[in-house]
Amino acid sequence: MSEHAPVVVKPADHEAFKLPASLSALGLPLCIGGAIALFVGLGLGYSSVSAKFGMSAYLTAFMYCFTIVMGSLFFVLIQHLSRAGWSVVVRRVAELMMMMIVPLAVLFLPILATLFTGEGVLYRWDSSTFWADAHIADEVVANKTGYLSQGFFAIRAVFYFAVWCFLAYYFFKKSTDQDETGEKAATDQMQWWSGPAVMAFSGTLSFAAFDWVMSLSPMWFSTMFGVYIFAGSILSAHCAIAAGTYLLQSKGALKDEVTVEHYHDLGKLIFGFVFFWTYISFSQFMLIWYGNIPEETEWFFVRQQETWVTVAFVLIGLHWLLPFLGTMSIHVRRKPFLVFCWACYILVMHYFDVYWMIMPEAYSGIHGDAYATAGGAIGVVSSLLCVVGMAALLVGVILKLATQTKVAAIRDPRFRESMAFENI
């Protein structure tokens, strides 16, 4: 352990804890630009390729943002649960991101609307012809449609969002109130509630994963699927926290508070979660491949046709191997710029992962459509506009929100500890 430099905590109203003006100016343009891009992207896919394609691209963009937001929520909960000291200076970034669950609840409405505006626009189970053609016993159809029905699906979604919005709001409010009051009891309360909150989080996230993504292939099932979504969430959230913190610092905020040690830690966690994601996705694939039961292999079969097999190999090589090797070294993790680059890179790869989860269902060969070519050039443009638009919109909202708060939980009782800790 090296000698500690004296830790000086700046006063709460210091410039270092305000959102830099250059970033706050971006808030509104990002919101407007993002909304337009999202609207154009969805419209383009919807009209130029197909309704199903447009909505699938929209769902992909939604799940991409949703997983990052949910990962951030989990990050905040787990920091309180483990009474973590190191992360206090970067926790506000995660807190701001987790609040995006509220706009995401609104952005979920178009997905919900597909159930009530046509037959099987997005979800195949939402169509009577699907069940009629499926050659399945009546009893099975009755059971499946009992769970996968418009009303029940909507009720569950409302319930999930209610839980998450409540959790996000509670932890955000407590933490931002503490900025003003400096009340230590708030930390105790957040610690106390983080336990039940993690329980509520894990149950609802698993079922949301089953409902929103797994049910795209109505007869397919995998008990691991919730964990798979979670693995992508926690990885991408750590990347987003690292990237967000770096951007804040590059514009002048938190200059002395976030040190190389925090990037080192985030880098280690990113490395660890790259491996965790691989572990979960490999286990899911391997067990289904090895078991070789048609009911289960269906999902991977579709994803091993034509374009999708390329995407699968991209995931193996560029979502696992490259970042795994790239973030392994201490020399990378202790250079904030490199951590930032890897974080951005993995955030791009995370989109491939979500894309590969969702889009093959829009273009699966099994039901007579052509094998995937992702809707041609228009499809690619539409997908990209959707995700960039939705992400920009949410970043804009985050920036708007951040102008009203501080960019660090400055009066958290462990703030000094967080500034002072050292890895080596």
Partner: protein
Amino acid sequence: MSLAIPNGLDNTVEKPGQRAPLVLGDTTYHDITETVCQVAERPPSKSWVAGFLVAFALLQMLGLTIAYLLYTGVGVWGNRSPIFWGWPIVNFVFWVGIGHAGTLISAILFLFRQEWRTSINRAAEAMTIFAVACAGTFPGIHVGRAWLAFWLAPYPSLNLWMWPQFRSPLLWDVFAVSTYGTVSLLFWYMGMVPDLATFRDRSTNKWRRMAYGLLSLGWSGSSRHWMRYEKAYALLAAFAAPLVLSVHTIVSFDFAVSQVPGWHTTIFPPYFVAGAIFSGFAMVLTLMVPARSMLGLEKLITIRHMDNMCKIILATGSIVGLAYGTEFFIAWYGQVGEEQFAFTNRAFGPYWWAYWTMVTCNVISPQLFWFKKFRTTPWIIVVITIFVNIGMWFERFVIVCTSLSRDYLPSAWAYFSPTWVDWAMLIGSFGLFFTLFLLFCRLMPVINMSETKSTLAKQYHMAHLDDDHAAATEH
């Protein structure tokens, strides 16, 4: 000079911003050395001798039943068609699971900078190794002709002209468990070297000095030694961390790659790992709670340590509960008849009693740890953790026996009944575990003295940082 916080302080309460002490009382560096060394240096207590005699007798029972098994054949077990994997595999998986806490504590908690690991890691690592030894016994004798168990090793056998089946997860198990055992042993031993040197230096008798001298590899405590030691420790921790995941993942593959309903499910790998950590921590607590008071280690292994471990048990127990629920839900959601039958049969079939024992012990009993009273009262901890151990043994029993006993062919269905040999071996394996653990308590440094001292130093340093801060804000 006293570095610690006065005795009697409740270190389970932590004011935010002020870390609770992990070493209690008026403890100095010297006190830590004395406290730990006296365990091995004073004559054995009556309770130790009594415990050792019981454990050693059980170990003899294991030895005798193994001899009987090898002499007679595996027919002495209850394994019958279609339940070819009976208790031996249940016991194997149970013991491998127990062996997960040690390496988690020493590797993953080390990487996560959890200071509280320092006073419990040594004993937990020892338990890991002893548990792996117990686990390794069962597949070794389950192969039938135990003298040919070396065929599992990947070499082209001249007798058979063939290699082991690389596509079988049973073979992966051989690699996974032996790697885990080797790395855990290395980790445990390497971490002990500085403390063994302390034992050597304090030895008053020639033989002890020679034995500890050999084991401590010429450790002199020079800063060069420490530098190398710390580097090696961090590297081994990094190697060991994925092993914590891999071992039980591969054990879960033994089941999950098959097409047996109730076995073939994708959540098995993380669910098995969580269950293993759950049972491992339970066993560590079952033994450490009585050991700490019998060996006089209360100031080093504090209530806070137990409180933390109880929380890990609560967390992993809840993960296991979520996995049970997910399995049940997906069995219904998937609408595959065999899968649904397997799960209904588990809960309401002939093994309902085993299933509900498992659920009560694994899912319900750890929920009591939501209450601080239960996490901080030693005897309650022992009772709950024993329940967890029972539950985790039953989990493996439920998985192995319920699925196999109801095969695809109803005419082959059967009910598994253990024989007296099954019982004797299960109980005897505890004899092996306890014998090794009691010997460890007498012969080795039960607490990592050097690391606990560094925790004490840090505790002192942090307290002074706070003083400086308080002084600075006053001015």
